[in-house]
Symmetry: C2
Subunit: 97 residues, 2 copies
Amino acid sequence: MAALSQRLAAIASPQRMRIIAELMTGETHVSELARRVGMSRALLYMHLTKLQEAGFIHGHLALSEDGKALKLFELSDFSITITPASIAAALPEENEQ
Amino acid sequence: MAALSQRLAAIASPQRMRIIAELMTGETHVSELARRVGMSRALLYMHLTKLQEAGFIHGHLALSEDGKALKLFELSDFSITITPASIAAALPEENEQ
DNA sequence: TCCACCTGTCAGAGAAAACCTACACGTGCA
DNA sequence: TGCACGTGTAGGTTTTCTCTGACAGGTGGA
């Protein structure tokens, strides 16, 4: 799993928070998601990659009903609690990166 | 209080996490803190300002024993839990900014 | 064949964050 | 008076992040 600061940086973005919220409605393929959140696919890929590396979402390939290949993304289960103690506890692993 | 994405961005930094951890030992004045975390005061001010705006720390002026004016910073109490639901709930306030 | 979908990536521009150096100024003490 | 220590900020550089536009390629259906 990524370091805490990296995970927090991945989620600390209004655009990526918007993506998370959109995925709460169920798994969605990239092009459809790009339309819903109103951004280019190229940009969305960048955001999706960061969210996936941080463990908030995960993607897989699948075939649609009419036989087209789709890249589906869905939410992972996650819960992070931030307190002074949890931050201090995470510091050692930060320096390993 | 700042928007969630702004608060998370403020804490999503190894340097600022380090500052938080250092302040767990008690309130500290700026120059001393700069020595401990090994950065210039100018840079530390930038980090402290972000942490304060996000509500993680707060500062106040005080006089040292030998009569010098010191700017002391100390930790605020905080606890943030991040889940898909908390992110979705925070979206409306994001757009107000 | 052409069109409408889809995936995936790259180069480069623009904006934002992080960082350093240097300055101005104040206080206590030898 | 000079030194050591403190606060606070302005300027400019470097680095990172964000974003656009364009490309190459695949599939199904009219």
